[in-house]
């Protein structure tokens, strides 16, 4: 019979869910995928460095890896890997039943899952930007450390935005992985167009956050190779855009999870 215990409130549910998910993540395989993505730019930079290229070319490689591998692949890919883990895969193996028949709010469970993915990404990804810098030897006049620190901060702002957008897609459809990949490809296409269309992409705002740290003394020539004709938005505009994307996408995903029906592929019908 029902005992005297009362189910936890939303805040405790979020914390318990996040802690349990982090425990599972630490023992699972998804963090290894994320770690591999995160380490890839550094590994490539080390290979380039070992091949004895000039400091200027190493700077070019640094900016190329930072934008194209770190932000476009590692940050977006890690967000996609974690966001698509819930709820559809768990609906398919029926373990979602344990979450969704517990006496707690669905949105609190989803927020706990989001928080766990956020913590994991924010531990791994900013470090990756700093690690990448440590693998590069630029010209003596170039302060790539300042750029790496800006990249780490930009990661802290953009990763939650990617995670929230992909969580929204995951709450909506089981094809979130495919849609997420299309999103990343489309974003790359749009950012290359420049102008106002490019401002709709998260990569544009990442570049805008990096731009102030890149002066003529520290690698503007190298930076221009990955950012030809780039017109940066104000840093405050970019931060606002990314934070607003995070909040709106996350709120919508929590609404969808609360109202949605998640029926596994193996469920049978007459």
């Amino acid at each position: 019979m029902s005992g005297p215990v009362r189910p936890p409130g939303a805040a405790k549910t979020v914390l318990e869910t996040a802690a349990f998910t982090l425990l599972r993540t630490a023992r699972g395989k998804r963090w290894m995928i994320a770690a591999a993505l995160v380490l890839l730019p550094t590994v490539i930079a080390l290979i380039v460095r070992a091949s004895d290229v000039s400091p200027f070319r190493q700077e070019r490689v640094f900016f190329g890896l930072l934008i194209n591998l770190h932000f476009k692949l590692a940050v977006a890919g890690t967000a996609l890997a974690f966001a698509t883990a819930f709820p559809w895969p768990e609906a398919d193996d029926a373990s979602l039943t344990w979450w969704f028949t517990s006496p707690v709010k669905r949105w609190a469970v989803a927020l706990g899952r989001f928080a766990a993915a956020l913590v994991t990404g924010l531990v791994l990804l900013p470090c990756a930007a700093l690690l990448l810098k440590s693998a590069v030897v630029g010209r003596p006049t170039s302060d790539l450390g300042a750029v790496a620190r800006s990249a780490a901060l930009a990661t802290v702002v953009v990763y939650p935005a990617y995670l929230a957008v992909f969580s929204l897609v995951s709450a909506w459809t089981r094809r979130a992985l495919v849609i997420g990949l299309v999103f990343v490809v489309l974003e790359n296409f749009l950012v290359a167009l420049q102008g106002n269309v490019a401002r709709l992409t998260m990569i544009h705002h990442v570049k805008s956050l990096l731009a102030p740290s890149i002066t003529p003394d520290i690698g503007r020539a190298a930076w221009s190779i990955v950012s030809r004709d780039f017109e940066a938005s104000a840093a405050s505009t970019s931060v606002t855009a990314l934070v607003a994307t995070t909040v709106i996408a996350l709120a919508l995903s929590l609404v969808l999870v609360t109202r949605g029906e998640y029926r596994g592929k193996t469920s049978q019908a007459a």
Binding site: P8, F20, R24, S95, T101, S102, P103, K105, E261, A269
Partner: protein, 312 residues
């Protein structure tokens, strides 16, 4: 077919229909269930899992209404505080230990960490998992996973239990123990919905049966009436065991066994008297270790019965 209204019903289903696109999984199903055990019986694809998911608040009805314990089930935490659900598949979190899993589920029910841990250990111990509770669930056998799921369900002290194929993968001794445990809960006033595609399993637990076939309630009533019809059809039981030839030779000597065929995972036994066969196997397994690790029953005989019932 509609079931009769029952005084004091804890589950009230009225004209329930559920469609997935063009596929009608449930079609105008109505019934009431009072506290005690009710068997939800039907071949695979009959709509049992869809009905259970509606009763457990994971899916909404397309049409009709469902009230359980006086509440609307869908996404209702107040309702979930009073029920417990064991899903059919091997649905557990592979990366955590049995103790961590049940402790977490109890925390979501409001138990503090110490109490949740203690209760988790008690219930895992009762399910014969004392030695395995600190191992990851990913390393559990099918039977251990099933017992771990049931430990989670029993630890919840719920007013209504929804068990989807709860005996699948269990050896004869554990099947008997779990059936006894379920009966004890029902005698204490708990409503238990026991879903299975195997009549014998349901019959051992309860006399009250709901028969689903192709999304409709084909019959509601006494299990023995269904048994009388089913016995006209041969019954096949797959026995998973390590020494199939040796065990098969012994089984052939039983009068409840018609034929035995060796398969890659064990034996396929045909019996005209499945209840006697199950009873004999449980007794023999309790007396000595036969090496039987699981029992599965293909639903051919039951499917044939349903075809008869609905004139298909």
């Amino acid at each position: 077919m509609s079931g009769a209204a029952v005084r004091g019903a804890t589950i009230e289903v009225r004209q329930l229909s559920r469609a997935f696109g063009q596929v009608v999984a449930l079609n105008e199903v109505s019934f009431d269930v009072a506290p005690g055990i009710v068997g939800l019986l039907g071949p695979n694809g009959a709509g049992k899992s869809t009905l259970l998911k509606i009763l457990t608040g994971e899916l909404r009805p397309s049409l009709g209404s469902v009230r359980v314990l006086g509440l609307d089930p869908f996404a209702n935490p107040e309702y979930f505080a009073r029920i417990a659900v064991a899903p059919e598949q091997e649905a557990l979190f592979e990366d955590v230990t049995g103790r961590e899993f049940i402790t977490f589920m109890l925390k979501l029910r409001g138990h503090d960490a110490a109490d949740a841990g203690r209760r988790a250990e008690e219930h895992l111990d009762a399910m014969g998992l004392a030695d395995a509770m600190h191992r990851k669930i990913g390393g559990y056998s099918k039977g251990m996973r099933q017992r771990c799921k049931l430990a989670a369900v029993f630890s919840a002290d719920a007013e209504a239990l929804f068990l989807d194929e709860p005996l699948t993968g269990l050896d004869p001794v554990w099947r008997h123990r779990i059936q006894t445990r379920i009966r004890e809960r029902a005698e204490a006033g708990v409503t238990v919905v026991f879903s299975s595609h195997v009549l014998h399993e349901v019959e051992q637990a309860t006399r009250q049966v709901l028969l689903l076939h192709r999304g409709r309630l084909a019959a509601q009533g006494e299990a023995r009436e269904i048994r009388a019809m089913v016995d006209k059809h041969p019954h096949r039981i797959h026995v998973e065991c390590a020494r199939p030839r040796e065990i098969g030779a012994r089984l052939l000597a039983w009068d409840s066994v018609e034929s035995v065929r060796v398969t890659p995972k064990g034996l396929l036994v045909t019996t005209p008297k499945p209840d006697r066969f199950y009873a004999s196997l449980t007794e023999a397994s309790a007396a000595e270790d036969l090496g039987v690790t699981g029992l599965h029953s293909p639903d051919d005989s039951l499917a044939a019965l349903f075809e008869t019932l609905v004139g298909g």
